[in-house]
């Protein structure tokens, strides 16, 4: 081992290590030995040591007592936040929902709910508005049927009026009655067979001919043939039978043909009718 096992450069590099007592004992000893022999290094070491020691004297201010309180507050707050965190999936969901459910969204939601509400109300209102409509319709229906009934009654009573003109008017009403019931037909047939006025009977025949779709009317017309004594009504009936192509009328027509009271011209007419029908 030489007296200078390390050179000056190495020594100076190790100075701080040496000052902070980080040098291993063996190296420290070598360092000491070198410094003892090398005045330049000794001077350098002295100046560095001085500086090093001065640094040690540099005061470090104390942290304020507030620091501890602040730390404790921070720690407590932090504990609260993490205590809240892992609680449950439900909580997580709730917080997510809360994040999602912003005031803005709440307003929007309220708006849509209000809109839907208005819609429902409007629907409800319109529904109820149709209610009275139906009622009106029903009322009108009942009114019109009442009117029909009144017309019927008026017609029936008019048919019994002693004035022929009134009876004519009554027959003409049948055209205004939409649905002719059996009562009206009976009344008309009775008028056709029994009315004293030829004109009334003719008009009645005309009215009945329009209702010939009804089997009762047809049968009544056929039966009426033998009951008529007026040549005008007889020939008119014969015409209606041809129009209706009613074959059942041949038998009463023949009866009328053989009747001596029957008008000569009517007989010719009946013969023609029988020929048309058969």
């Amino acid at each position: 081992m030489g007296k200078l096992p390390i050179n000056c450069e190495q020594t100076q590099e190790q100075l701080t290590e040496w000052l902070s007592n980080q040098l291993p004992d063996a190296e420290g000893a070598i360092m000491d030995a070198h410094l003892a022999q090398c005045p330049a290094c000794q001077a350098e070491a002295d100046s560095v040591r001085q500086l090093w020691q001065m640094m040690g004297q540099l005061p470090t201010p104390e942290p304020s007592p507030m620091a501890r309180i602040r730390f404790q507050t921070m720690l407590d707050t932090y504990k609260e936040t993490i205590a809240d965190k892992p609680e449950s999936a439900l909580d997580n969901l709730l917080t997510k929902f809360r994040e999602f459910f912003t005031p803005k969204l709440a307003v929007r939601l309220a708006y849509s709910v209000a809109l839907v509400g208005v819609g429902i109300l409007a629907g409800y209102w319109f529904n109820h508005a149709t209610g009275p409509n139906v009622a009106y319709k029903q009322q009108i229906d009942t009114l019109s049927t009442q009117v029909q009934e009144m017309r019927q009654m008026m017609m029936l009573s008019l048919l019994e009026n002693p004035a022929a003109s009134e009876r004519l008017r009554a027959v003409s009403y049948t055209e205004e009655i939409n649905q002719v019931d059996s009562k009206v037909i009976d009344a008309l047939l009775t008028t056709l067979n029994n009315d004293a006025n030829v004109n009334v009977r003719l008009v009645t025949l005309e009215a009945l001919a329009k209702l010939a779709d009804n089997p009762t009317v047809r049968e009544g017309l056929v039966q009426s043939i033998t009951r008529q004594d007026s040549p005008l009504v007889q020939s008119a009936l014969a015409d209606v039978m041809v129009k209706l192509q009613e074959k059942r009328s041949i038998k009463p027509l023949r009866q009328l043909l053989h009747d001596d009271n029957t008008n000569h011209m009517v007989k010719g007419k009946i013969e023609q009718t029988i020929r048309d029908l058969s």
């Binding site: 100076q12 590099e13 190790q14 100075l15 701080t16 290590e17 902070s20 980080q22 100046s47 560095v48 500086l51 090093w52 001065m54 640094m55 040690g56 004297q57 540099l58 005061p59 470090t60 201010p61 104390e62 942290p63 304020s64 507030m66 620091a67 501890r68 602040r70 730390f71 404790q72 921070m74 720690l75 932090y78 504990k79 993490i82």
Partner: protein, 181 residues
Amino acid sequence: MLQVKAGRIDTMGLLFERYNRPLFGFLFHMTGQREASEDMVQTVFYRMLKYRHTFTGDGEFRSWMYHLARNVIVDHSKQNKRSSQHYDLADVAEKIGGGTTADEQFQKKQELETLHRAMARLSEENREVLVLSRFQELKYEEIARVLNTTEGAIKVRVHRAMNELKKIYLTIENGKTAYKL
């Protein structure tokens, strides 16, 4: 710290008791700003809680703490780019005592103030190693871990830092005497 990591947050209080002073010292010597340093101590401890899962337990807690503290300083100087250069001398000047006679006391005070000013003028990375080794009394090996480098590199850096400090100190000192003369 491993206990903290395991969920025993209260043990953090112990760590605070043990380390808030050295941490404050480090931050103060690094920034020279007292109030900012106190704020940063809080930030460092908060980050410890927040990032406790990143503490592996491999290294010492102290290294990890300084590691976090360095990041906080970086963030702090980013935020306060303009004011970060300002260095609180008054705080130190007040505290400097020592010396028996008034004259000695005055001289000592002058010297320390100069040193403090010299420290402030050091480059950040040089100041860092000096603060860690001299004030925090960390071994080179530990400093190397904090700074993510090798022990050898730290050795060189400390040596250079001391030389730089000495140079700055003498410049200030000479400037003063020159002014005095």
